[in-house]
Symmetry: C2
Subunit: 136 residues, 2 copies
DNA sequence: TTGCGTGCAAAGGTTTTGCATGGCA
DNA sequence: TGCCATGCAAAACCTTTGCACGCAA
């Protein structure tokens, strides 16, 4: 476990940082980097992503067609609040709220379960998609 | 879309209704029904489950290793509770709690986001794994 | 030089699909 | 009888793993 600074790792992080999409799959990453001429294997992307998730640098979402990843960075800010992901437009909302903040302690005390907010995403519909109606 | 009342469909519903586990995979269903002597294919189970989910009879959870299904039926009881998945042992806990039930309305009112509890899974550590320490 | 990280290919697991057959209405 | 649903097997995916080689430290 030495976390070498390899070219592939830098490429992945660089892409995740600059990526306009809210979340990408391992396949997306490989395709994008290869389209820019980089030589990189899918297994490498999975292996690096796994580490980044463990290290808290990247967040992993389990979705219907497979897993998606999002760059979070070293900022601690993202670890204490809740994440709401819109099922329609894919937006990821960050919510800070004392009511929600009391949720984890409640669950721990009353249900014996220690929630990890940094791993938890609540799914639903954001305001815009809810009001926008059912197009598409 | 005729929804024939086939033997296989009845077997699946019957098992889901009586199943002691809160959620099962498609493979679980096939194995169980075959162990009772039924002749049923995995594809049939997937096709039937897909319909039941569309019809609201069954709920589908996307988890790390695959999808799990839970019978909901016409009862409203199962639609309002939360799901907690242990990151260590993989257990999926179903929690019913008025405090948690108030969460979705709060988020909708204060943050404009309509949470879909049936799609949301909170990650963390269950009591046993938390108390059991760090073996494995 | 050491040994971790990589690419490739193969394996593993889950879910979907094609096609001939069987069963419900 | 007319279709839909089924079973089987193959295919389609996504992800992980094994192995020899290359590169970071």
């Amino acid at each position: 476990m030495a976390d070498y600074r390899t070219k592939q790792r830098e490429l992945i992080i660089s892409y995740l940082k600059s990526c306009p999409l809210p979340h990408v799959t391992a396949g997306d990453i490989v395709l994008h980097l290869r389209s820019e001429g980089a030589k990189i294997g899918l297994a490498t992307v999975y292996r690096q992503l796994e580490r980044m998730v463990e290290g808290g640098l990247v967040r992993k979402f389990i979705l219907d067609g497979g897993a998606c990843y999002q760059y979070v960075g070293e900022s601690e800010g993202c670890r204490e609040h809740f994440h709401l992901k819109c099922l329609r437009c894919g937006a990821l909302l960050h919510v800070d709220c004392s009511y929600l903040g009391a949720l984890a302690p409640h669950i721990l005390e009353h249900h014996g379960f220690e929630v990890d907010n940094s791993r938890t995403v609540m799914y639903g519909l954001c305001r815009r998609c809810r009001e926008g109606g059912g197009e598409e």
